[in-house]
Symmetry: C2
Subunit: 448 residues, 2 copies
């Protein structure tokens, strides 16, 4: 059975790589509207060729979502990926032109080959391979391919809301994944949410001579005082009601810590640190990295910051904070808690401006979909995958995952050397073929 799949993939490997190369020749860099639309049209035709029902969903001011559906059966899978890519600059650091894909030493080099056209095309090739070996796909597979990921997916949530019924599925394959630097296949079951705010404190109508400091309130002091109420010296977030809303990791989520490699000493050496925040050990550091919410100062500014002395009492001060969120903290809740917290302490003059927000999304590790992905990975790749119950960072996963009541898992064709967003972006051809094999196996198991 697997032999037939493998034989088919090997027999078609040149065609697959040439097909992927065709996709990579289109310079669908964000901002290049013509190329983005060319890419959307090419993908539309390609999905149709695979047998999909295809639609383009126009978005406000951006390139469309390309939507394709194929297969039959009780169950369905949603696939999230994107066809826009990062710019190729600096061009002179590429060993071959970014939009002229070429295979060297078993690797296919091209801008976007890993992020994220390899993921898109491997899923098309998997559908086609399944159909060639087994006939009709035993589940309904739904391609959602957007063209705005590299600019922060500004239209993802509204598009998901508009097409909620059509998007509904029994699991979601997220984009981006592969091997870590020890060649362990690695998946993520979620992301943290985020609230990004700017705090703004005002003062007199203009900057004043600092001789007036005894009588004129300094907004930089007000900001420092306000910030200091948000977090204890040992890093605990002290916004009223914040920690009370945190759902701690479940035993199932926490159990993954035992299997996640984390070299604390290497990280500390890399970053030049004596210790992790709070002096915690490696396991606790990993646990916090994955599960702890944060209140981080991204930036702070007031007054005179050039070299030398200037005796000024500034009339404005600001700080930018990102708060990484975990279940059950929503951006709306945290914004409200923060406002109330400041008001309660007399900091009602400090403005809180929301600059961005992302919701937390986390799959249930015990869900059948997650278990099926994990077991298929283990069998195809020959080792248990490393499973992260959440990423330490954030992403636009929620609208297509937890927001629709779905579990999402990141899978992809990558490895530690893909050079994402950098010159000489590449994937390994063998990884690509193996990933197609895995997807075919997943279809077989989850659809049966």
């Amino acid at each position: 059975m697997n032999d037939k799949v493998r034989s088919h993939i090997l027999a078609n490997q040149r065609a697959f790589i040439e097909d992927l190369s065709t996709a990579c020749r289109i310079p669908s860099v964000f901002g290049n509207d013509a190329a983005l639309h060319e890419m959307a049209d090419w993908l539309t035709a390609r999905l149709r060729q695979a047998g999909c029902q295809v639609e383009q969903w126009p978005l406000a001011g951006g390139p469309p979502v390309v939507w394709g559906e194929i297969g039959a059966g009780e169950r369905s899978l949603l696939s999230y990926s994107h066809y826009d890519v990062q710019p190729a600059d600096p061009l002179n650091l590429w060993d071959s032109p970014a939009f002229e894909p070429v295979v060297r030493e078993g690797k296919l080099f091209a801008r976007g080959v890993s992020d994220d056209k390899g993921d898109v095309m491997s899923r098309i090739h998997a559908v086609e391979t399944y159909q060639a070996i087994y006939g009709e796909l035993p589940l309904r597979f739904k391609f959602f391919v957007e063209g705005e990921e590299e600019i922060g997916s500004p239209n993802l949530a509204p598009a998901a809301a508009t097409h909620a019924a059509q998007l509904q599925a029994d699991g979601c394959l997220w984009e981006s994944g592969g091997f870590d630097n020890e060649e362990r296949y690695t998946i993520y079951l979620g992301v943290k949410g985020m609230l990004y705010v700017e705090l703004r404190a005002g003062g007199a109508v203009c900057d004043l001579h600092s001789a007036y400091a005894p009588v004129v309130t300094n907004p930089a002091w007000r900001l420092v005082q306000a910030l200091n109420t948000l977090r204890s010296a040992d890093g605990v977030i002290t916004i009223d009601g914040f920690v009370e809303h945190v759902r701690p990791p479940t035993p199932a989520e926490e159990s993954y810590l035992d299997h996640i490699p984390f070299e604390g000493a290497a990280r500390k050496a890399q970053w030049g640190l004596q210790q992790f925040e709070g002096g915690v050990d490696d396991r606790e550091a990993l646990k916090r990295f994955l599960f702890a919410p944060t209140c981080n100062i991204c930036g702070i500014y007031s007054g005179f910051i050039d070299a030398g002395q200037k005796t000024v009492l500034p009339n404005a001060a600001m700080a930018k904070l990102d708060l990484r969120l975990v279940p059950n903290l929503t951006p709306e809740l945290v914004l409200d808690l923060l406002r109330r917290h400041l008001d309660r302490r007399g900091f009602d003059e400090i403005e809180v401006v929301r600059l961005g927000s992302l919701s937390t999304s986390r799959a249930n590790p015990q869900a059948e979909f997650v278990q099926t992905v994990t077991s298929a990975l283990a069998d195809v790749y020959g080792h248990q995958p490393v499973v992260y119950p959440s990423h330490g960072g954030s992403g636009p996963m929620y609208p297509l995952a937890e927001g629709l009541g779905m579990d999402a898992v990141t899978v992809g064709v990558g490895y530690a050397g893909v050079n994402m967003h950098a010159p000489n972006e590449n994937i390994r051809v063998d990884d690509y073929l193996k990933h197609v094999e895995f997807l075919v196996e997943l279809f077989r198991r989850f659809g049966s």
Copy 2:
């Protein structure tokens, strides 16, 4: 007696104004070394012409101090003033060229005429007038005229130390003074000191993705926490040992508060404030302005401060503080207290860099010299002068005043409309002549 003085001054007013204009024609802007030396040489010759023993004291890398001595008697007075001026920019906002002095509507317009050549020349003209009317000056008058005031007097303290014996006198006439905006003659008996420091907190070897905030210490948080220990929410400085060293104003100093005009409502309206810091009343605000030490944030910076969002964990943070000092806080003491305070709270990784310091200087309001200046001002100007026991700001007064055991008082030829450091700098000719008359009267009273 006064009639003779007044007659002499009126008879010579054209000559005085022409003489002052000659001084103002030399563009002795800081940085213009040729003009600064030309000015020093002109002044040297002019003091010699008045009968002074004159020296030039070379300084490290700057224009010299011009030193002149004249007169005889038990007592002596030191005069501090300066011959360097601010740049004339923006030139297009001057109604007449900055270095072509001209009288319009009773005012003499020129860069430097108020700050500070009017003070220099009025003291020369007063010496000459005294000699013309009464003969030999009844005290030893010592001109100390520097050329680096506008760049912060970097060589004043060493020059004062080198020439301490020669500088010794029974009182010091400081530069800059005159009428306030209600035409009340105003003098200051001192200045606050200052310690200017930069606090620097470091972190990882480079900025990191803010996903690592749970495990990597953020130097911006460390700085905020450290700063917050320096000052209470209501503005009291909480550096260990700081307030304990403050000598409160004496009853004599505090009694001046009753006579200093302070329009709190007008100040608040001008600055756009609902209230003064701490909601204090006008008298308390004035008291704090004159007598309270400060710990002011001049600037603070870390990380990303442009528009929009960037999720970064900065690897450095800094704040610039100016601490205005009062008796008995010295810059050295405060620097030491600050360092110990931070160390005691575990902030020993935060670097404290001293960027500048000035010592507090305050005259004894009951000293005979101060009383003589005040009574001479009252008699000549026809009203009691407004006496500030200290300025709210700082200046390089200490090395020539309290540092030599002397009382210093600011007097000058200015008024509220002098446009100091601005286009159309000017003095009123009548103010100049009146000030010469006052100085002659002061010589007579203090020398007798």
